[in-house]
Structures are given as structure tokens and as C-alpha cells.
């Protein structure tokens, strides 16, 4: 690539090259530059704010439950009768059809098939979905980075083993592996020696999702490190007598950091979607804990009488994931204008 800034002809590319030039001149770090670029991307910021808003709303779930809806996420009001527009109405009709949105404090978004307040469950469900998404992302990113870097750095049999393991996981369809692990592990929980995870724990679902996505991040990181390790500065570090650990995490890691950062929102969005999918297939969050996925799948049963049970959590899920995706796209544009990094669904 030419270093002559004016050589590149068209818009986007041109600007990024100039930025690189500027950065050389002015000594602005790549991350500050990216932050500056991101700050100019109003659409990405708006969607990021949308996501933040959803997060805040979900965090405020206990307040809403306690002060406005006066019920918990798992409290059932099956045989209760409440007043809607002055008329007493069953929360759950004798044949089990839940009340629709009342647009008032109690049952603002209606009740679900077990007479629980949908609005309250929506917020608590969001907490669970987000928690799983964040934990899964953490697991994926952590393990994928370590495996990718260590494998590519040392090469040899260790790398072979890691690559084969990646291939193995990668050859499964995501949901098939997810439900296989989900169904079997939920029956027994997971005993990792030091700590035990109960079958009904959210962490277990997060762990499964995190595990499934490892190769999708690990492979690109490994590829990048394979190139990096041949570069001069790594040689130099080696000749200085730096230890492998120091080189891997002091020299290599910072150079793949932008790739890792780009993957974070992608994996977060995909984890949340996968959680929903697994819950739909009965291998995700366990009842009675709500999550957006379980709420949708419970709601599907009551279509067509109560489409709101599907629409409410579904739209919330789409909005949250959309927020992450658009914001993440902005982050990627800012860090990696050539958009070389992508993930399979």
C-alpha cells in the first residue's frame, strides 16, 4: 500500500490512510484515534445508547417490580381478578388465556401463561439474557485469545491439538452442539473440580454458549498471530531474551487487541441470540427464571390468543441485539476500516 496519502482515490479508504498519516505525525495512539472516529459516528453512538438504555432498564428491574408492578418475576397470579377499565378481569381465563397489556402499573404488558407480569419478567429476563451474553462473551474471548495466541506462538503439536479442537467444535452446527451440551449438562450440572455449577445455573448456559463460539474467534486470532510471530519485533524481543509469556502477552497480545475488541460486540450479540435459540429448544435458561428467549418460546405456545407474549420479548431482544450490532459495527469501522474481521453466525 502506498504511503502517499493522496494516492488512494475514493472516500472511505482515503480518509483512513490520511488518518494513519496524521497519526504518524501527531503521535495520536490508534485507540484514541479510533475513539475519535467513533465519537463522530452518531448512528453507532445512538444505537450504543439504546443498548445502554436497555441495560439500565433491566438493572432497574427490582425497582419496577417493587414500586410499580408490585410483583416479582416468578410470582403467579393465576386465579386473581384485577380491574381493567373498571371491569374485573381474570389474569388467566378458566381455559388459561392470559390477560393482554393493561397499560397500567400492574400487568402493564399483560400476563403470561402462568399469570406472571410480562413487564416485570421482561426486565428480569433481560438481566438474565444480558448476564448470559456477557459471561459467554467473556469465556469465548478469554479462552479463544489464550488458545489462539498460545497455539500459534508455539506451533508444533500443541498448536495441532488446539487447531483440531477448533475444527471439531466448528464442524458442529452451533445449535446442535448447544442443545446436546445443554440437555445433557442440565441433567447433572458440571463439576469442574474447584467449583461446581448446578444444572439450572445461568452460568452453565453461558459456559456452553461461550464454548461453542471459541473457534469462531480463536481461528482468526490464531491466523493473525501466525503472521505476527514472523515479524521483526517479535524476533527482537526473543533475542532480548524475553520469556515466551512476556512476548505472548506483552508483545503479541497488544497487536491482536483490536481484533479482539472488534469481536466482543459480535460475540455478545451472537451469544444473546444463541441463548434465545437454545431456550427456544428447551436447552437454555431453566424455568421459572425468565430470559427473553424462554419468554418468546413460552409465548409461541399461546399464539394466536396472546401474540404480545412473543412480540414483547422478541422486539426487546431485537432492539438490544441491534443496538450492540450497530454500535459494534461502529467500533469495527473505527478500529478496522478495512473490515477484515468477520464472524459466522
Amino acid at each position: 500500500m502506498s504511503t502517499d496519502p493522496a494516492l488512494a482515490a475514493t472516500g472511505t479508504e482515503f480518509s483512513s490512510d490520511v488518518a494513519r498519516e496524521l497519526q504518524k505525525e501527531g503521535g495520536i495512539g490508534p485507540y484514541r484515534l479510533a475513539a475519535r472516529r467513533l465519537a463522530r459516528n452518531k448512528v453507532a453512538l445512538a444505537f450504543g445508547a439504546l443498548f445502554a438504555l436497555i441495560v439500565v432498564m433491566c438493572l432497574l428491574a427490582p425497582v419496577y417490580a417493587h414500586d410499580i408492578a408490585h410483583t416479582g418475576p416468578n410470582d403467579e397470579h393465576i386465579t386473581q381478578v384485577i380491574k381493567v377499565a373498571g371491569k374485573p378481569t381474570d389474569v388467566l381465563s378458566p381455559v388459561g388465556i392470559p390477560i393482554g397489556p393493561t397499560w397500567h402499573g400492574r400487568f402493564f404488558l399483560g400476563a403470561d401463561g402462568s399469570g406472571r407480569d410480562v413487564a416485570v419478567r421482561l426486565l428480569y429476563g433481560g438481566r438474565n439474557s444480558l448476564e448470559i451474553g456477557i459471561e459467554a462473551t467473556f469465556i469465548t474471548i478469554l479462552l479463544a485469545s489464550i488458545l489462539g495466541i498460545v497455539g500459534a506462538y508455539f506451533r508444533g503439536p500443541l498448536d495441532g491439538l488446539i487447531s483440531r479442537a477448533f475444527d471439531l467444535i466448528w464442524a458442529y452446527p452451533v445449535y446442535l452442539l448447544g442443545i446436546a451440551l445443554g440437555v445433557t449438562l442440565q441433567l447433572q450440572g458440571l463439576d469442574l473440580g474447584v467449583f461446581k455449577i448446578k444444572g439450572s445455573s445461568l452460568v452453565l448456559t453461558a459456559l456452553i454458549i461461550g464454548f461453542v463460539f471459541i473457534p469462531y474467534v480463536g481461528k482468526p486470532i490464531r491466523g493473525q498471530v501466525l503472521v505476527l510471530r514472523e515479524r521483526e519485533f517479535i524476533d527482537a524481543a526473543r533475542q532480548q531474551g524475553l520469556g515466551s509469556l512476556r512476548i505472548m502477552f506483552g508483545e503479541v497480545l497488544p497487536n491482536v487487541a483490536s481484533t479482539i475488541i472488534v469481536f466482543i460486540p459480535l460475540i455478545l450479540a451472537n451469544s444473546i441470540l444463541t441463548e434465545a435459540g437454545l431456550s427456544y429448544l428447551g436447552a437454555g435458561v431453566q424455568d421459572p427464571n425468565p430470559s427473553w428467549g424462554t419468554m418468546i418460546s413460552d409465548g409461541i405456545r399461546l399464539i394466536p390468543a396472546a401474540i404480545h407474549l412473543v412480540l414483547v420479548p422478541g422486539l426487546m431482544l431485537v432492539l438490544a441485539v441491534l443496538g450492540i450490532n450497530v454500535f459494534g459495527d461502529g467500533v469495527r469501522d473505527a478500529l478496522d476500516p478495512r473490515a477484515r474481521i468477520r464472524i459466522e453466525h
Binding site: A9, L176, Y280
Partner: protein, 314 residues
């Protein structure tokens, strides 16, 4: 080419063996997971359970059980725990459904992905691009079973435009086949259209700045010719290979959610049902079949890739 084939066959066999062992082991971890108990039913006596254990070979060590199951898979005689059906026949029967879903959806998502991606890149930064970007972002943010359920409700039940699910055989009722599949095709495609249009857009924007594109302009080619003959053609190469892998994963049972929500008796739904029923033989065969299609199609993709991009050596 010869070496490529040998290498690929070897690695395929390796992956299949590994995947079968891994799948088998996943299900061994179930507590009280003795399949004999499930098979025997609630009122079975100890004698009966013993008998079942013996006939199915559950009294043998795990590796023998594994080897016996694999042997049965190879000679095509493996039957499911649940109803004793021949698993391979089941897959063979489910495959036309999955293939119908994959072919139609694959065509739609490839075509629309290319059109949207190309338009988006062509108008990069303009309103059309922004609109398409938002659309594709919504597409990749949409859980397919949510979209499917909502579509089935509105388009299927409420407005009655299309049937809300099920599969009709192409050989029996071609029109019904099409009618029943339109919604699943669309629902399954949405995510991929989003992904493909984004990938194509960025590939095009990347290639647009390549030197050979400048050369093409300098030759006096019109903008359209430059875009189609050089930029688009070169940018499609990675899309085609992506398509091969995604298509393979759908064929191999990856469209679990779509098949479930539209009640299509395909490989994916069979997979989901088998896993939930803890039916090890079926799950083993399906995962191996899925992995095999993925590995096979990725090999084909590599060959096609090499044909499209002469720089790649097999």
C-alpha cells in the same frame, strides 16, 4: 490435486472420528443415563431392564458400545432408541425437506445478499446504503424463531396469505411445496442476507481501492464495467465460498430453529428431537452427517475457490 484429495480425506476421517467420539461421550455423562431405563418404560421389572440392557449391549464397556454403534452406522443398520427406526432411512427421508429449505433459502439469500451488498457499496455513505445497512443489521439481530413465529402468525394465521408451516412434497404438489416453503425460505434467509450484504459491501469497498481497479479505470472502462467486471467479480469470490459453508451447515441440520418453528420434518428438527429424547444413535448419525456435509462442501468450496482465484493452490 492428488495430495489435496488425500489430505482432505484424511482430515475428514479424523474429524468424523473425533466428532463421533465427542458426541458419544457427551451423552455418557448423563446421570441415571442408562438408556435401558428409558427404553423399558415405567412399569418394567428388573428382569426386563436386564434383558433390554443385554439386547442393546448396554452391559458392555463404553468403548465396545461405541465401536458397535459405529459398526452399525457403517453397515446402515443402526436404529434409534426411541422407536427402533433405522436412523439412516430417517435422515434419507428428512433430507428432501431440508434440501428444499436449503436450496430455496440459499438461492434467496445469495441473490439478495449480493444485490443488497452491491447496492450498498455502490452508494456507500448515501441514503440507500444507510437504509440497507439498517435493514441488514436488523436481519442479523433477528432470532429466526421469533421472526418465524411472528410471520406464521400474521402472514399465515391472521391474513391467511400463506400456510404457516408444514412441508408438502414437491413430487405430490409442486405449488403447495412452493407455498409452504416461501415463509421458511424467507425467515431463514434474513440473517444470511444481512451477513452477506455486509460482507460483500466491505469486500467491495476494500477492492474498490485496489490498484487493478484503478488500472481498469485507466483503461477507459465505464464505471459499470469496472464495477461488474472487476470489483464485483473479484468480491464475489469470498461470498461464494461463504455460501458453500453456510449451505452445507443448513443441509447438515443447522437450520434447527427454522425447521422447528415451521414444523418442517427435516434433518434439523430430527436432530433437535433426538437430542431432547437423548437418542444417542440418531444424534451420532446426524452430527456425523452434518460434519461430513460441512467438511465435504468446504473441500468443494476450496476447489471452486482455487478455480475462481488462480492464486490459490490446493
Amino acid at each position: 490435486m492428488g495430495r489435496f484429495v488425500v489430505r482432505r480425506v484424511a482430515s475428514t476421517i479424523g474429524v468424523l472420528i473425533a466428532i463421533s467420539i465427542f458426541t458419544f461421550l457427551i451423552f455418557q455423562a448423563i446421570p441415571n443415563g442408562d438408556p435401558a431405563l428409558r427404553l423399558a418404560g415405567r412399569t418394567a421389572t428388573q428382569t426386563q431392564i436386564e434383558a433390554i440392557r443385554h439386547t442393546w449391549g448396554f452391559d458392555k464397556p463404553i468403548y465396545i458400545q461405541y465401536l458397535r454403534t459405529m459398526e452399525k452406522i457403517f453397515d446402515g443398520s443402526v436404529v434409534s432408541y426411541n422407536q427402533g427406526f433405522n436412523v439412516e432411512e430417517e435422515i434419507r427421508r428428512d433430507l428432501p425437506v431440508t434440501a428444499s429449505l436449503a436450496l430455496g433459502a440459499g438461492f434467496i439469500w445469495l441473490a439478495l445478499g449480493i444485490v443488497f451488498g452491491a447496492l450498498s457499496a455502490w452508494r456507500a455513505g448515501r441514503w440507500l446504503d444507510r437504509g440497507l445497512t439498517v435493514l441488514s443489521m436488523i436481519g442479523v439481530s433477528m432470532p429466526v424463531f421469533f421472526l418465524g413465529a411472528v410471520l406464521a402468525y400474521y402472514v399465515g394465521d391472521k391474513w391467511g396469505v400463506l400456510p404457516p408451516g408444514d412441508y408438502v412434497k414437491l413430487t405430490e404438489d409442486p405449488w403447495g411445496w412452493l407455498e409452504h416453503l416461501v415463509m421458511p425460505w424467507f425467515a431463514l434467509s434474513v440473517l444470511f442476507i444481512g451477513v452477506y450484504s455486509r460482507v460483500l459491501r466491505s469486500t467491495i469497498l476494500d477492492n474498490i481501492n485496489d490498484d487493478y481497479v484503478r488500472t481498469a479505470r485507466a483503461k477507459g472502462l465505464s464505471e459499470r464495467q469496472v464495477m461488474i467486471r472487476h470489483v464485483l467479480r473479484n468480491s464475489l469470490i469470498p461470498i461464494i465460498s461463504l455460501w458453500g459453508l453456510d449451505f452445507a451447515s443448513v443441509i447438515g441440520g443447522g437450520a434447527i430453529l427454522t425447521e422447528s418453528v415451521f414444523n418442517l420434518h427435516g434433518v434439523g428438527q430430527y436432530a433437535a428431537q433426538s437430542v431432547q429424547a437423548l437418542d444417542i444413535p440418531s444424534v451420532l448419525v446426524i452430527t456425523m452427517f452434518g460434519a461430513f456435509t460441512v467438511v465435504l462442501l468446504s473441500a468443494i468450496v476450496d476447489v471452486v475457490y482455487a478455480a475462481l482465484d488462480p492464486r490459490i493452490r490446493l
